[in-house]
Symmetry: C2
Subunit: 280 residues, 2 copies
């Protein structure tokens, strides 16, 4: 791991690193915020998955999360939204596919299947790297925004034993049934839609692969003035699936809020409190 | 005024506007955060002056100030760091002169003297515009970062009757005696250094144009790991001038903190509390 920068904030340290990832067969950059408590003890970790076009930097710069994380003694890890450094056909042509748009899945269509293994990176490689190299416990929670909210939901629903809690801001909850998801899943997973369902939070809740006792409650905030609400995000689909199968969900519709980090910042403290309670 | 965007955050609204400025003879963009209290009453205003290369957006996106502003019932106004839209010689060649680097003074050297009147804009035109068009009181405070810290200090020192309080993060306190200031003042004010002193916070404190009863206490945070500390910022010069003349100053040296918004975010709540107390 190569340390890229180290910046003090709220008594803790924001550190950015570059490392060679086995999952994506190339260099990846991540950032970790270590609260002041990490100087003398191990702390639990919240993983944050960002949305389309983002890198590890957006959340750290704009969410205003460090004050509360420093108060709670919570580390936060942010990662990039795709592998970088390749030149596949169409990889850099649009904001919603390829670079900056890895969708936190394991691609099966060539050439993306060679390196776009963001799911393995999030669920396996990165926690191992973090827990080996930093003063953290093995207690993990996960959250994210938009495409990253989708990522947080599928990672937690597929691995409830790995996470203490999950939350999301304005997540894509039903990617098999919206333009962003259909484009990405076609490109990464192919035309056969049967293969898509295991990467769709609503389908995962409907199929209930976990037993009732293992089910992680879903905590979601959605702005009602979000431009992407009706066409891309459709939280009603997930809510309906949860009602049908008895999966616990708290979906808060926030009047007047849009899709931006100004919305995330407004409610991040409550998400950090929610995760901290589950992690302690 | 043309409304560019309106975004809900912490129950209040961040609004960006474009307007035709008389001071700088061209279009200017500013942003105002109106806390929830502004829906039913008038609120006081903190003016924020940003540093080199910034626009009205940096503070609003990165300082994490809205939570506390919403709690205190404080409006925040952010403006651009220079006039825009002209094509003067060397205006866009460097980050520390011309566009993005107006230094909050009134230029006297042609062609900058035609439009670079940021001091008039900050002290006269913008408060008039804000107080005419928004639900605010005529109580004002002022703060800023780096070049904007310099701006806040000179605006308050030259007009103690216009502001209830002043603070700064990592300000350029003695621009007549550092490379950033010397370059800018030569370009905007000319070679005659006698004309520079009225735009230098340390010189203004030394000359004490205001009476003792009018003196606004200076509240300054400075990171000790700031890359620009020794060569450009030199807070000791201002501290010495204050000691010599009895001007009240609180200069806090913060160990480990750098020049970034991660530093500002760490202490912005205390600055907002300081201003709110003075404004109420």
């Amino acid at each position: 791991m190569e340390l890229l920068s180290s910046t003090k904030s709220f008594g803790g340290w924001l550190k950015r690193y570059r490392h060679e990832s086995l999952s994506v067969k190339g260099e990846m950059t991540f950032a970790i915020y270590l609260p002041p408590q990490a100087e003398t003890q191990t702390v639990p970790v919240l993983y944050w998955l960002s949305g389309l076009t983002c890198t590890d930097e957006n959340f750290m710069q704009k969410a205003g999360a460090f004050r509360k994380a420093a108060e709670l003694g919570l580390a936060i890890v942010c990662l990039d939204t795709s592998p970088r450094g390749t030149e596949y056909p169409n990889e850099h042509d649009s904001y919603d596919f390829g670079s900056g748009a890895g969708f936190y899945l394991n691609a099966t269509v060539e050439p993306y299947s060679n390196t776009y293994h963001m799911y393995d990176y999030v669920v396996q490689e990165l926690p191992h790297l973090i827990e080996t190299n930093f003063p953290v416990t093995d207690k993990r929670s996960i959250s994210g925004h938009s495409m990253g909210g989708h990522g947080a939901l599928i990672c937690a629903l597929k691995n409830p034993e790995k996470y203490q809690s999950v939350s999301a801001f304005a997540p894509i909850v039903n990617p098999t049934n919206c333009p962003w998801g259909e484009k990405a899943f076609t490109g990464y997973l192919g035309e056969d839609k049967a293969a898509w369902n295991e990467w769709d939070a609503t389908c995962l809740v409907e199929s209930q692969i976990e037993s009732a006792s293992e089910r992680l409650p879903l905590f979601i905030d959605q702005g009602e003035a979000d431009n992407f609400l009706a066409e891309q995000l459709k939280p009603d689909a997930l809510e309906t699936a949860c009602e049908k199968t008895g999966h616990p969900i708290t979906l808060r519709r926030q009047p007047g809020y849009d899709h931006s980090y100004f919305f995330i910042a407004s409610f991040i403290d409550e998400h950090l409190e929610f995760h901290s309670t589950a992690l302690s």
